[in-house]
């Protein structure tokens, strides 16, 4: 398995020169593309996005629309920029001092990279789950309630109690609801006050999803959420993603093409140098891709 992946990766890097130098061929492929605007009213709309790390361009002129209440998978070999692309959707790249973003990302028609964007609001609406589970070293309950508490939506403590504005009950409900949504509640309901680091890796990742859900986002970005997990935990996360797509817009980066085929509604293939090569319904990408290179990639041949 890992051999196969590394072969694909090597193949991908080998192809770099081919694609970037031969503009002719790239043009030819683009002409074969189906329309990447899959929805009339997209949740997220990306136009001519470029991301630079210092002088290096990690994302090249990517434009794509992400429809609401669906799962969009971003696949591609390592280093193709799919994680960078994902992080630019909720401006997590701002946290890297050398990163620079050009182009436009619109959330429900509002520019994300506008000068007046409220980062807190943006990240509340566009949540994120990371590759490695990263719960805080706090009790499970505090992990889930962390976001709402910090946003001042839950008042707790002595002062709140004295003022009669104690939201302990609301918090309890929120924690329970979020954990249930993340399919974790049954496993941890007896130990909500135990430290979250005592959970298994898969449970920790679902806790991170619950923590993300607790702030009630509209879009959930997931950066290879199952890559650090065993097959059973992976299966649980995949089921969860499919369920979440009924209420949320999910964008998921994955290395695993089978996973993308299983869970996503549409798939974007990033091949090399941060270029979006093809973006279409998942079925089309995996069964009848427009480009030969994408076909080679998804069938594991790569040329």
């Amino acid at each position: 398995m890992s051999n196969a992946i590394s072969e694909i990766e090597t193949a991908g890097t080998d192809e770099t020169g081919g694609l970037t130098t031969s503009g002719e061929r790239a043009e030819e492929i683009q002409s074969e593309w189906t329309d990447y605007r899959l929805s009339a009213d997209p949740k997220l709309s990306v136009e001519n996005l470029n991301v630079y790390y210092g002088d290096e361009r990690a994302i090249r002129d990517v434009s794509m629309d992400i429809p609401e209440n669906s799962v969009t998978a971003l696949i591609g070999p390592s280093g193709c920029g799919k994680s960078t692309f994902l992080r630019s959707l909720n401006r997590m790249n701002d946290r890297i001092s050398s990163a620079r973003v050009e182009g436009s990302v619109k959330l429900d028609g509002t520019e994300v990279y506008g000068p007046n964007t409220n980062l807190v609001e943006l990240r509340k609406r566009v949540g994120m789950v990371f590759q490695a589970p990263n719960p805080f070293p706090k009790p499970i309950r505090d992990n889930v309630a962390y976001g709402p508490r910090k946003h001042g939506e839950l008042n707790r403590g002595l002062v709140a109690r004295l003022l009669g504005r104690d939201d302990s009950e609301a918090e309890r409900e929120l924690v329970e609801r979020s954990l249930k949504q993340a399919a974790l509640f049954e496993e941890v309901k007896d130990r909500l006050d135990d430290n979250a680091l005592g959970l298994s890796g898969g449970q920790q990742q679902r806790l991170c999803i619950a923590r993300c859900l607790a702030v009630d986002p509209e879009v959930i970005l997931m950066d290879e959420p199952a890559s650090a997990l065993d097959p059973i935990a992976t299966a649980k996360i995949e089921d969860l993603i499919e369920e979440l797509a009924e209420e949320y817009t999910v964008v998921v980066v994955t290395h695993n093409m089978q996973q993308a085929a299983r869970i996503s509604d549409q798939t974007a293939v990033f091949l090399t140098g941060g270029e979006l090569v093809e973006y279409d319904d998942t079925e089309t990408i995996f069964e009848n891709p427009a480009s030969q290179r994408v076909e080679d990639y998804v069938t594991g041949k790569f040329g």
Partner: protein
């Protein structure tokens, strides 16, 4: 870790069957350890090698009481399954220790030998035991697995020991008449050959037996006595005195004997080497501890006399004071020691050590009560009176009285109640709820509230509230009724456990809510009654027994019964693993509940005695308002002892305030700067500059800080040396260390936490406050601990900025605050006064020879050590608390 696994490993490493051979060797190891401690005691001067007769008997009786008590308490806990001790070696060592101290006591009493002979004979015995073990093994009497040879390393070691011993013996026995090199080399070659040439069992025992027996003979036959000196020639300075040589010989001999006995105990071969080398490695590590302990012990021995002048305590009071330590030691011992390997065995020993110490002290105190004689430690010290030395006699006394003061009872009880209650955590989560629980709880709350309201009304309205002449009667009736109700409720707790179906464990689990309501309900009711009682001035009694304390005692017994039953039930475990765990957890909670209740009732008892001023006795034990504690002189500011001010309290208070003030100044500043530098500032020239500056500041000599304080701060703070100036100066010294360690700690917080928080839309400051800083707290505390250790003992700056201070009066910082209408609004006179401080006083008394005698200097040093170690302890406990919150345990 399952039980079976533990025993498998244990039997795999040490033979399962315990024969006379093993027992004897366990005994030899234990006695060697004991002898090592005695040697250490003579080295630091706690006990003279020439001690003999009644004095030695007394010492040995105390040692045996302590040994039996310590081992006994650990054994009792092991039998009760409270503390798990699966290791056979540790059990064997325990038995050996008890046997050893009893034998030593008998031996020191019957033939009437002195300390030196005693230690020598024990060495001789150990040497012979090791020798016999080797011979028995070589003769095939026991089943062992020795290698062909003990190895070159052991040979080298014994060669070296032989060389040194040869030279030493030449000097001691023959007065240095033989050629040094010949004797040394001869003995070295002989021992090395005896180690390497024969089979391992002989090779690793016979040389040891030879050396240890020789040392034993030299010590026991008083060839070297305390008057002996290694330097016969007058012009040479220095050299070893007899008592030091005796101590060193005893310690070296004990080490060797213990090592060889341990090797034999593990049947030689690979296992034997393992055991032997582990012993040596751990002893090696323990030696660093010994250095620390020696310093503390030495200062203690020198300073204790002056410090405890006039200290008297009743044995029973002592036992009560011991109880929080018992709980702490138990909690420590109960934590699992990890894998059952050799390290596990050592860890087990370390875990039960505090428990053994508590048991030892308790046994000593109990033995006083049983014998009915007070323990009086007489000593003398000198003070300066009109520049003349004068000797004072005083004593540390422990009386066998059965009286306890309310304060002595109440303080540990409050501590325990808080501890158990905190440990117990959520009261709601235990067991099932019974049908009428909410009603009962409401009724309970109502009646407690009613009692308190009644008390307040009676207090305000006197005996005729609202003009009704019912006050006294009403109050009397209320006290009687609440006490009786409390009795009934507390009995419910126990009856619920006794009457029910299934095993005790199941019953305890089922009736948890009864227990809860019973215990805490009774506690609340009695609390109300205690509040009510003094206002009505009534003490209702039944058959000569005060009703209120009687019901408190009844409830205490009930609470303790719950705890005892639960402990017993803990052993009757369920079938499946999960069930067993659940039962254990629930029962552990019940134990805490019971103990929390019991200690709460004890507090009430003390409260009753304190409010009514009436002593209360039951079964010969008296709880009185006064009690049997008189504080040591050191805790007084001044005691008229001739011209010398006696107390050391002003210096203690001064040091504590300086450390607190410096910490309050440096910690927020340092941590704040660290947060700014790591989380906000860009890495660049500025942060690099700050880094260099802090490091430079950290290595600046303290006297420079002192000069800066004197030249810069003093003119700006009233122009006199003051406490405030000292706080700020030492705060400057503390600042760089806090900054450096806090930065490192914050840097080491994983970036994932920051990303996760940012992705939730939480801003930077909130992230730092609620994720980064909590994760960095243990590291920050480590820095503070180190820093506080440094500044608490700092002398040079204090000489410059603190001034002389009033010897007769400690600074009253808390009482010195004054509010004013004009700026600076808050003014504290005490902070701007000169004060005493411990390190400065040590310097002044011992080095400069002003204001006091050397005894006072040593006592000051002892207290300085105590203060610094207390700050350490607080720091370490805090760090552990936060670490545990971060870990998933």
């Amino acid at each position: 870790m399952s039980e079976a696994y533990v025993h498998d490993r244990e039997t795999a490493l040490v033979s399962d069957e315990l024969g006379a051979y093993d027992r004897a060797l366990d005994g030899a190891i234990a006695v060697a350890a004991l002898n090592f401690v005695l040697g250490l005691a003579t080295l630091v001067g706690a006990l003279g090698p020439e001690t003999s007769g009644v004095a030695l008997t007394d010492v040995m009786l105390a040692v045996s009481a302590a040994g039996v008590g310590g081992v006994g308490l650990v054994a009792a806990c092991a039998v009760l399954n409270v503390v798990e001790i699966p290791s056979r070696r540790i059990r064997g060592l325990g038995v050996g220790l008890v046997g050893g101290v009893i034998l030593l006591t008998v031996f020191s009493t019957v033939p009437g030998v002195d300390m030196q002979t005693l230690m020598g004979v024990v060495l001789l015995f150990d040497g012979l035991a090791v020798g016999f073990a080797g011979i028995a093994s070589r003769a095939g009497l026991v089943d062992t697995e020795p290698n062909a040879s003990a190895g070159a390393l052991a040979g080298l070691l014994f060669g070296a020991i032989g060389f040194v011993l040869g030279i030493a013996l030449n000097g001691i026995v023959f007065g240095g008449t033989l050629p040094v090199v010949v004797v040394g080399t001869g003995l070295a070659v002989m021992l090395a050959a005896a180690t390497v040439l024969p089979r391992e069992d002989l090779g690793s025992t016979l040389p040891v037996a030879l050396v240890v027996s020789l040392l034993g003979l030299v010590v026991a036959s008083s060839v070297v006595d305390p008057g002996w000196s290694s330097i016969p020639a007058e012009p040479m300075n220095g050299g070893l005195t007899g008592s030091v040589v005796v101590s060193l010989f005893v310690m070296l001999g004990s080490l060797l004997a213990g090592w060889a006995a341990a090797k034999s105990r593990a049947r030689y071969g690979a296992r034997g080497r393992q055991y032997g080398s582990f012993l040596v490695i751990y002893l090696n590590a323990a030696m660093t501890v010994v250095v620390m302990v020696s310093i503390v012990a030495f200062v203690t021995v020198r300073g204790l006399d002056y410090t405890v002048h006039g200290f008297t305590i009743g044995a029973l009071s002592g036992l009560v004071v011991l109880s929080p330590f018992l709980v702490a030691a138990l909690a420590y011992a109960r934590r699992p020691a990890g894998a059952a390997d050799w390290h596990g065995g050592v860890r087990e020993t370390v875990r039960v050590l505090p428990l053994a110490v508590v048991g030892a002290v308790a046994a000593l105190l109990v033995s006083l009560v049983v014998r009915g004689e007070p323990f009086v430690h007489q000593f003398t010290y000198t003070i300066m009176e009109n520049r003349q030395e004068r000797t004072l006699e005083t004593a540390l006394t422990v009386t066998p009285e059965l009286t306890v003061g309310t304060l002595v009872v109440a303080t540990p009880s409050v501590v325990l109640f808080a501890y158990f209650f905190r440990k117990y955590g959520s009261l709601a989560g235990v067991g099932r709820t019974f049908d009428r629980q909410p009603t009962v709880q409401r009724a309970l709350g109502g009646s407690v509230a009613a009692t308190v309201v009644l008390a307040v009304v009676l207090l305000l309205g006197g005996s005729q509230p609202f003009g009704l002449g019912l006050g006294g009667t009403l109050g009397f009736g209320a006290v009687v009724i609440t006490s009786a109700a409390a009795c009934v409720l507390s009995l419910v707790a126990v009856s619920g456990l006794l009457a029910g179906n299934g095993s005790r464990a199941r019953r305890a689990r089922h009736n948890a809510q009864f227990v809860k309501v019973g215990l805490f309900g009774a506690l609340g009711l009695l609390a109300g009654a205690v509040v009510l009682q003094p206002t009505t001035g009534t003490t209702p009694s039944i058959a000569g027994l005060d009703l209120l304390p009687a019901s408190a005692i009844l409830a205490t017994v009930a609470g303790l019964s719950v705890a005892a039953l639960a402990t017993m039930a803990r052993r009757a475990t369920g079938t499946s693993d999960a069930e067993q765990r659940l039962t254990r957890r629930l029962l552990a909670e019940e134990i805490r509940l019971g103990l929390a209740g019991a200690t709460g009732f004890v507090v009430l008892l003390a409260g009753h005695v304190a409010t009514t001023d009436a002593p209360f006795s039951v079964a010969g034990l008296t709880l009185s308002d006064g009690g049997t504690l008189s504080w040591p002189m050191v805790l007084f500011s001044s005691i008229p002892l001739g011209a010398e001010p006696g107390g050391i309290l002003p210096a203690v208070v001064g040091t504590v305030w300086i450390v607190v003030g410096a910490s309050l100044f440096a910690i927020p500043l340092g941590v704040g700067a660290a947060v700014f530098l790591t989380e906000y500032a860009e890495r660049g020239r500025f942060t690099a500059l700050v880094e260099i500056t802090t490091n430079a500041l950290w290595s600046t000599p303290s006297v420079v800080f002192g000069l800066f304080g004197a030249a810069f701060l003093l003119p700006r703070l009233g122009d006199t040396p003051s406490l405030m100036a000292a706080m700020i100066t030492l705060g400057f010294m503390l600042l760089p260390l806090v900054l450096i360690t806090a930065r490192e700690a914050i840097k080491s917080v994983p970036n994932e936490y920051r990303d996760a928080s940012a992705a939730l839309g939480v801003n930077k400051w909130e992230t730092v406050r609620s994720v980064v800083l909590p994760a960095a707290v243990p590291g920050v505390i480590t820095g503070v601990i180190l820093g506080v250790g440094r500044i608490a003992g700092e002398t040079a700056p204090l000489i410059l900025v603190l001034g002389v201070g009033d010897a007769g009066q400690p600074v009253d910082v808390l009482g010195g605050f004054r509010l004013m209408a004009s700026p600076p609004f808050v003014y504290n006179e005490a902070l701007l006064e000169a004060s005493k401080a411990l390190p400065k006083q040590v310097w002044a008394v011992i080095a400069a020879g002003v204001s006091g005698s050397p005894s006072k200097g040593w006592s000051t040093a002892l207290l300085l050590l105590t203060v610094v170690l207390s700050f350490y302890l607080i720091g370490i406990l805090t760090r552990r608390h936060f670490r545990r919150k971060l870990d998933y345990e």
